[in-house]
């Protein structure tokens, strides 16, 4: 049986982003040439975005199992047990290309999409995070993009009522024409009430719920899989607009419905909308599906089957209900003023069949659509200039003349300055669970009905990844783990968002493979499962790929929320202690980049055994209530970390007197970014016990000084008033953003 409409040829297939060989595969798999609507369906299902054809073979290496894992990769989101019969459901996802084209709506719909992935599983979203990358401030579009993206992230999350509690934002020339917007959502669900997107039960009705379908984002999924070029302008009308109000209603209606026994399977209509949601649900359940496009609620007149199938209108869900439960579904959606329409049913022939005007316009076997795309083992090769990039001779770098000024300049760089300009645009309170708001190493949200809390952090230093993608990716994992440990949490699960350039280039593929290897090794060393994630390839413009950016979202568990910890000093007289060892490592540092204009060298080395030990010591110390603050030492090194301990607290600022302990170059001691270090403050009476805990894990511990006065003094090198540190640090991003005061639309 053939779908209606004229057959297409190879040329049309190539215009849809398939290769000639892939088109031949398609024809072989379905035994004929497809018509145009079918080609649309196939091309999105076989796009990089939906099929993971370049990355799948590599991703197999990531560990995704463990005693807490309830759902690994393959569903809408991953799930790990947090005890008490509850599960944390979470995922991170990219919305890079749409955000470059229309920053507000691109970012907003990215947030909307990831929240749907989470509540689709039955979980109520309780926290959002975001990871952002922009070009440098001297690029003409940067401010426009930053203000649009941040407003869009906030605009959507704020209006839906999910707090945005953390994230990261970095600026680097490498993202000038290709920004990154990665959004993360975490939700909580009863472990035995997790919903999946696996259609079953021949004859069960398929329902469409949510917003009406318009001509939004047609070709979005295939667009997300191609590089930008001069035609980008022409792809503009495809921009989707989000409606967070409808999303809020959708969340409440779906969660209410899930309490009933009415749903067999549920999936949101994300990229490639109706097509991918119906194909993926049918494929997971090993069944067929038939839908009638005449019954799809539409916003515009005269839409073709092709357009309806590929529309990426937002705030829509597809539900397979139990036969007979249609009315129950309709009643609940009615209560929330939402449309629900029966548009088809589950069938037994393993085909996606689409009717329009009484005619069958698509008849394609589900299996080949979902899994038929070729899996490529793409060639890879280390970039020729990699070794050159890693060469760094420290002798040629003069030490700073004025350390005070070096520190204040570092604190004012866009990558280190306070992020308050960003997160003050996000509702951090709604939901009533936020224990630690943005501004500490990790956010902490409590889990109602328990004593527990979740700590969250997203991290990636893409400069390290550029210099050495293996070490850089490892660092992203261990740093995000260290961040949640500093909050007093045990890391229990990872979601990753792998942002890279064009995988058809061997150098990019090498970066990708190295990064995945780094994530694997770090996760294995810390016994962490990767339960969900997302791959975003083809992030390049006119042939220039972005720096490799494997963003890691870390979820940690705090058993007793009262024993959580924050990064800032809290009491005059407390001792300041460093866990871990400082080496002469300046490669890839913010200090070299911002003050010397040097981006080269090897990133700080990581010994995974040492890292694990440092984290265990810190976690145990917090759990034994020995410490008053714990702060990860990251960009800017020890001096910046100390300054942050002094100035980042919400209630007043405290100074510190620190002894210089440098057996290495003083600038390396102060500004180098050696890994596996944590700054702790504690009452002196707890020092003996902390020493024992550290000694038991062979972890170096150095008493650096104490919290004292209103100046930060480090040996005889550095002596600045904390109020001055605070003012340069807290105002820098806002004044960079205000420089021309532009806000579009």
């Amino acid at each position: 049986m053939s779908g209606g409409g004229l057959e297409v040829d190879e040329k049309a297939a190539i215009e849809h982003g398939l290769t000639a060989e892939e088109f031949a595969d398609v024809c072989r798999a379905i035994g004929r040439k497809p018509n145009l609507a079918e080609l649309g369906v196939i091309s999105v299902m076989w796009s990089e975005h939906c099929s993971y054809k370049s990355s799948r073979a590599v991703l197999r290496d990531l560990p995704n199992d463990g005693p807490r894992v309830l759902q690994g990769p393959g569903e809408n989101a991953g799930a790990v047990s947090i005890g008490d019969g509850l599960a944390a459901v979470f995922k991170i996802e990219s919305h890079n290309h749409p955000s470059y084209i229309e920053p507000y709506q691109g970012a907003a719909t990215g947030v909307g999409g990831i929240m749907r992935d989470v509540f689709t599983m039955g979980a109520r979203p309780i926290a959002n995070l975001n990871s952002l990358r922009f070009g440098s401030f001297d690029h003409e579009r940067t401010r426009y993009l930053v203000s649009g993206v941040v407003a869009g992230v906030g605009g959507y999350g704020n209006c839906v009522g999910v707090p945005t509690v953390g994230g990261e934002i970095y600026f680097d020339r490498g993202y000038n024409e290709n920004i990154l917007v990665n959004a993360f959502t975490l939700g909580i669900v009863q472990a035995d009430r997790i919903f999946r997107a696996e259609a079953s039960g021949v004859g069960n009705p398929v329902l469409y719920v949510g917003s009406k379908t318009g001509r939004d984002g047609i070709h979005g999924a295939s667009m997300a899989s191609t590089e930008f070029d001069d035609e980008t302008e022409e792809k503009r009308p495809t921009v989707q607009v989000g409606d967070p109000f409808t999303e809020k209603l959708l969340i409440e209606a779906c969660l209410e419905l899930m309490e009933k026994d009415a749903i067999v399977a549920i999936q949101d209509m994300g990229a490639a909308g109706l097509t991918s949601s119906s194909v993926e649900m049918a494929d997971r359940g090993g069944v067929g599906i038939r839908i009638d496009l005449d019954k799809v609620p539409k916003r515009e007149e005269g839409m073709t089957p092709y357009e309806i199938l590929l529309s990426e209108s937002q705030e829509r869900m597809l539900i397979v209900a139990r036969a007979g439960a249609e009315q129950q579904v309709r009643d609940i959606f009615d209560k929330w003023d939402l449309d629900a329409a029966v548009i088809g049913e589950v069938t037994d022939d393993g085909f996606l069949r689409v009717l329009s005007g009484g005619e069958e316009v698509v008849a394609l076997p589900v299996g080949p659509l979902a899994n038929g795309a070729p899996i490529y083992e793409r060639p890879y090769a280390q970039p020729r200039k990699q070794a050159e990039l890693q060469r760094l001779s420290l002798q040629d770098i003069p030490p700073p003349g004025d350390y005070n000024r070096t520190l204040t300049r570092l604190l004012a760089t866009p990558n280190i300055a306070s992020r308050e300009w960003v997160f003050s645009q996000y509702d951090q309170f709604v939901g009533g669970n936020t224990v630690v708001r943005p501004g500490s190493d990790a956010a902490v949200v409590r889990v109602k009905g328990t004593n527990k809390a979740i700590a969250l952090s997203v991290d990636c230093n893409s400069r390290y990844c550029l210099l050495d993608p293996y070490v850089g990716a490892m660092t992203a994992v261990v740093e995000s783990a260290r961040n949640v440990v500093c909050a007093g949490a045990e890391p229990i699960g990872v979601s990753d968002c792998l942002n890279f350039g064009n995988p058809e280039k061997p150098e990019v593929m090498w970066q990708f493979r190295e990064a995945v290897r780094g994530i694997r090794d770090a996760c294995e060393a810390l016994a962490l499962p990767v339960v969900s994630g997302n791959v975003s390839l083809y992030n390049e413009t006119e042939g220039r790929p972005i720096p490799p950016t494997p963003t890691i979202a870390m979820v940690g568990l705090i058993e007793d929320v009262r024993l959580h910890c924050t990064q800032w000093f809290r009491n005059e007289g407390d001792l300041v202690v460093l866990l871990g060892r400082t080496r002469e490592e300046l490669g890839g540092s913010e200090y070299l980049a911002a003050l010397h204009g040097i981006v080269r060298g090897t990133p700080p080395w990581i010994d995974l055994g040492v890292e694990a030990a440092v984290q265990q010591v810190c976690l145990q110390a917090i759990r034994e209530d020995l410490v008053r603050s714990a702060h990860d030492v990251a960009e800017g090194g020890l001096a910046v970390a100390l300054a942050e301990c002094c100035i980042s607290g919400p209630e007043g600022r405290l100074g510190a007197e620190i002894e210089l302990e440098a057996s290495i170059r003083p600038d390396a001691w102060l500004f180098g970014e050696s890994q596996s270090r944590i700054l702790i403050s504690l009452q002196s009476r707890n020092l003996t016990r902390l020493r024992e805990v550290a000694a038991a894990k062979d972890t170096p511990l150095t008493v650096l000084g104490s919290v004292r006065g209103n100046r930060l003094r480090i040996g005889r090198l550095l002596d600045v008033e904390v109020s001055e540190l605070h003012s340069v640090w807290s105002g820098a991003l806002a004044s960079l953003m205000a420089e021309d005061g532009v806000e579009a639309g």
Binding site: C159, V160, P244, D337, F423, S424, Q425, V435
Partner: protein
Amino acid sequence: MMRCGVVTFPGSLDDADTLYSLSEVLGVEAVPLWHKDRGLHGVDSIVLPGGFSYGDYLRSGALARFSPVMDSVVEFANSGGLVMGLCNGFQILCEAGLLPGALVRNQSLLFVCRAAHLRVERNDTAFTNSCSEGERLLLPIKHGEGCFVANADTLERIEGNGQVVVRYVDENGETTQAANPNGSLNNIAGIVNEAGNVFGMMPHAEHACDRALGMDDGAKFFRSIEAQLARGNAS
């Protein structure tokens, strides 16, 4: 015991948090009210919570005021019942004409979320009797349209009548420009109606009840209502 109704409009967001703070933290009876309700289930006070009712489309608060339950709320207010609107609830009360003035887009054009210092201008109201006069409170704010405006006559009247209950101040209790998060006239954060039984403010009292979450000055507003009711509010 106080029986406080909390209205849920489509797009209300802080409704659940308000219910939680009232019942789980402050231990008073909280009654959910649905926007399609035609009655008030015998409550003795009402909170219109924060959020983005109807997406805040058109103007914040403009569409919610036509919800069926608002007829009962207006009637309740007109007969002296205690009504408190927080953030979006404040906007709705202004749109419904229960409070003077209006709330428009923040002067910065940016949404703002942070802790804000407030100064209690009057402690002889049904909503602030548990505070001392001039007391400084710390409450969260989170809004994109919290700039209080009114025409000159109205502003003069509000100030003349002492209807301004809380203002944004700095750490030293001064009504500085820098302490004003949204450009509100005279740093106004919250006002009462002339009769003193309807109160609206942008800061979120419901998110400042539980010490475990950092701030707890918001509890004072609910405690004040409770005290007022115990004294036998006119309603």
